[in-house]
Symmetry: D2
Subunit: 388 residues, 4 copies
């Protein structure tokens, strides 16, 4: 509880490039802030747009050197790989359908990839991505950023420590409202275009986050699902609301709801897990709190870095309890853990204890999840196995 | 907002009898308090237990006259129907499997029935109950008490007024934790015995409440459902957790979760409804609040009897906003509305505007809902039509 | 946590009269409901208004016999005292300045008095009231109803059990907004008229509640106070907002804020108590919750009748945790505890363990509190001793 | 509500130095993160500790060049002022008593000062600081960081727009619990040593924040105060709890509570402002929410960057509503606004609209506030004028 300093240790910046994330983009800026917060990266190169003029303008706006502002990611991969001080890692923040093509170029040249989710826009690409990542010496980090929040790590640690006993029920949801009507903005446009986002709409954009977070915290493996997908907005070619029932290996059962048409929900990602011995509840919009009920005892409010919070959360907290950390800090935790892994690799040393980040395998599961949702829904909600 | 009095108007007490609700019972006491709050009933007779000694002791404890304390409901129906000042209404608060047999005796003698939910323990009995009720001149009131809360009525009124536009999504849940382990108490015992509770466990006990409330507020009619039921506690012969996907007529979709094994949940009945123009959220444990978001505007907190609350809620509120009313007051609203209907019938006058209560038809829907859940779950979650 | 019945035991109704509380009144109706909830009183007589026509009409509306509907409380006291089945107790629910004159008539005839707060409109009357109550064989119950909430009793019990250690800080507030503008309604009118309400406006109407509740839970005795009172609404002759600093015997310190001009506050009575070992927080608008933090541990949410709640709260709870009880039930607890005391007295038996209610002495303290606030404020917030 | 990008514009980093903030420090690390988030500063020099070995080790840990790691701030000011690429701004994050001596050296050499609060440990130094700042061409920024939260700026904007009407009541509090017992850690030690922190304990450390925030949002000027200060922990030479009544110019009244001994409070800074037409409520631990009640209408929840939020909040938001921003982002807003002012000054251009930060004058008011609290408390809570 006390105010205590946390010593920083400057470990030498990682030279970072970025694909996508030019002007008008949303998630690129988030990645950049996340990379800066703990001073572990320096952005030095970018292929920030597929439109050359925009790529140049965006690079200039970010203060990149003109000769390291590229019009195309392949050209960037080739040249940076040859430079003595070329990038060591690249952040890929394009629409989904470009992820694989871009990542491949960097992976095969040994440049670490930090890739936005979902991994790809379809299963075939996802399988190829896994293959490419395994074949490469480089690391692959997927930014399922909600796993970077201290209190989701706290929750995971409590589950692993057995505080919930055998898990029975998982309730997870991610509700938004911004697509309740047709939107004419860039962020809406590509997300509702199957050729770029993939066959899943809300399932791919946010359902994958919910699915991933539930797995991260519970440690459960999804066996099969039964889904009912809807596109409520007239003419929308992908789902904007999805109801999914889940069967996990070992007997746990769950429900997942994702929606982009639920007025009053901004980014209402909420996870509740119930086991034989206790329950946990967490909500992304109030991320510094974790509710824990040991069965038969009063509910307890565990706060980030506060009384009752453990190692896993403390390791990724920067400020004392009661001083809220948010989305950007959680995102930064993925970046900083990735940095620690990259530096350990660079130095040939052991990865520090506690470092964790979502991998290409998690990404494949996410894409399979979307695929299974679409398949089940098209078969009148028949149960579909996650293993195909 | 201002403190204002609400004039009481003593309308002449209704003579009430009770079947079930002797010592150790839970819901009987609730019915008795509910009947007293607005001074519209007087309990004068009872068949409070199927065990004669207990029936007598319970009657004495409640101050009933010995000659109006019965050992058996049939005997009570027969005699009370003959008395000049015999009961005008009877509350049936036994385990589910007795509801029909008991109600029938009173209905056929023209005594109004106020019956606990679910209507019966199986569809066959429910159909017979409907028939009996329609054949009788007496009223039939089903105590789906959550429809008595001022703010669920407020929500219903807002939906009817079109504030949400066409409804798209219904999320409803009722979670408890008291059956997370095997319980050796009376209240647990009959609720987990299919011969008394019916084929549904959590679905019948609390799932029906959730289903009914969603229908009450949304005005939607359920078309079909897909369910995955579980009995997590070893050896339990009925479900203690259920995941249900809902398809309503007209295109709305929903999810229903009920559970009695979710640690940290006491009586967490929560309803969220989203339409084209707005969203509503209500939780039974904080019943004086209703959250309303007109799409694109800030969320608003409407309080019982407070600014923004309308006629339907004000009609059934007793105290100013900020002075919370609770479960018993909500239950009492069902009783008091029933009383107004009974008195109107007694006097041959029009039923006052705004009077409402759940009917035998609502009860049949509830029993069909449980039946469909069990059926769907046994068919690997195949969609099952509510119309059989 | 489990659903369990609570056996009722009909102890024989107490015959109750009422002074004040006719049509248009607010608190009279609350007293009547409170008296009915646990079936321990029967209203049989009333002097419901000082206006004869209104007294008669109100009595008829409540179903009182015409010969027990009085035009004047003195006449009622005289006649009822002579009746074989005359009233045993009287509820006094008039404006403050009438309390003493009315109570006196009943006390001297041995009729128990249940009196609304504040005790009187000035200290002189309050001292006389104490004298009259001590001289009488009858009981005197003051309806500081917030002490009837299960969770304020839970809090008191926890303080008495030493869970907070030595208390250091008390923060209490009662904020409303209904008098933010001039109001032309009856309830506003007498409350802002010093000849009827007394010299205190918000201090007398709600500040006394806050003061009383803090004392009830903390067990602390107020030594002195320093106050700054305001009348923000133009022309209002009494305070509508008050800031008060508190010094308790033994070294604890506190702050009290009461206001009737704070938009967004309905009946925001909130108490926070901090000791060497822990803290407690309670809010009247969400009365089923009590927050408890043992220093250095996570905050715990104790719910009425739920895990972690003790004897004192369980004794006055009617329904399981998660089924909220509210203002009327809390008020009823005062009535029901009074009934148990009255019956014990009637029967010459010991008062059951746990029975408690605010007394005439608490009432005198409340009136002294208002007097001290007014005095201190008029002396530029000089500290004023509570002992005069 | 929609997800939209916010274009970054790299404006050229400001070369930053730091005084204090070496290993074991708390607030230094916060300043460094805050300076990085929006990529507007680059830390290039430091006198990080008054202990030479620690200064060197800390500089190395942060990756500073050895020749720009100083043992003493004066030496740093002298040398950096001469370097061609010397620091343009310095962050002073030492204990309070060093602020003036350090700031003076930089101010007189034209180096902008970003100084932690409170401004100084006593009024005499504060007055000298004002003089030094006015005499210098450099900017002076005081990190009352809570004014950097988007929703406190939103609140201020709403007050300025007249949505509350004339303000009547201010309730502000800042409660912590970490000093409820004697603490043997560095952060506790200097904060409770009057020779370093000043005469105020909790009043100086957190009371100044509360006072400043209330002034920032309300726009009100404090006229006088009446205080009752306590040191509850045995032997503590400064206050650890304070009760303060406030009188603002123009007739508004307020209460301020600050405490470091209230178990269950982490950094519970909470502001409530009530005017003739409405009320606002904000809490630092949930900083993305602002509650607004127009008198007579339902309470509204305004979210950062969401529906109902205006220009002032949007300007300093980085991510969409529902993705929480926290303490570090709020702190960063002060840094980034300072950067915009510094760059405007560097370029001789107009300061962009909306740029704001606390000034040396705000700092003087804060120190006067502490002084007045101590003075009033020592005079038995006599009202003390803020103008001396």
């Amino acid at each position: 509880m006390a105010i205590q300093g946390k010593d920083e240790k400057h470990t030498g910046s990682i030279r970072l490039g970025m694909v996508g994330g030019g002007n008008d983009a949303f998630i690129g800026g988030v990645h950049r802030i996340a990379s800066r917060i703990d001073d572990k990266y320096r952005l030095v190169a970018g292929a920030l747009s597929s439109t050359p003029e925009k790529a140049q303008a965006s690079g200039a706006a970010l203060g990149l050197a003109p000769d390291r502002t590229y019009d195309d990611f392949k050209q960037m991969a080739i040249r940076e790989a040859r430079l003595k001080d070329g990038i060591e890692a690249v952040a890929i923040v394009t629409p989904n359908h470009v992820h694989y093509a871009a990542a491949r170029e960097f992976l095969k040249r040994g440049i670490h990839v930090i890739c936005d989710k979902p991994l790809t826009s379809n299963v075939a690409d996802a399988v190829k991505m896994v293959k490419a990542a395994k074949a490469s010496d480089a690391l692959f980090i997927l930014t399922h950023n909600y796993t970077g929040y201290p209190m989701t790590r706290q929750a995971r640690e409590m589950v692993q420590d057995g505080l919930l006993g055998k898990i029975r029920v998982v309730q997870v949801e991610y509700a938004q409202d911004w697509l309740a009507e047709h939107q004419d903005i860039k962020q809406a446009e590509w997300r509702t275009d199957p050729s770029r986002s993939g066959a899943g709409g809300s399932t791919g954009d946010i359902g994958t986050h919910a699915f991933n977070l539930a797995a991260f915290v519970s440690g459960l493996e999804l066996e099969s699902l039964s889904a009912d997908l809807q596109a409520f907005v007239h003419g929308r070619p992908v789902d904007d609301n999805a109801h999914v029932m889940l069967r996990y290996k070992g007997g746990a059962r769950g429900m997942l709801w994702c929606s982009q048409v639920a007025p009053g929900n901004e980014n209402n990602l909420r996870l509740r897990i119930y086991g034989e011995k206790g329950g946990l509840e967490w909500a992304q919009e109030d991320p510094n709190y974790l509710w824990y009920t040991p069965f038969g005892e009063p509910k307890r409010l565990i706060t980030r870095n506060g009384a009752g919070a453990g190692e896993a959360a403390g390791r990724v907290s920067r400020v004392p309890p009661g001083h809220p950390e948010g989305y950007l800090e959680g995102f930064a935790n993925i970046y900083s853990d990735a940095a620690e892994a990259i530096i350990a690799k660079r130095n040939g040393t052991a990865r520090p204890e506690g470092v964790m980040y979502p991998t290409v395998d998690d990404g494949l599961l996410g894409v399979r999840f979307v695929d299974a949702c679409v398949k089940s829904s098209s078969r009148d909600s028949k149960w579909v196995s996650m293993t195909g």
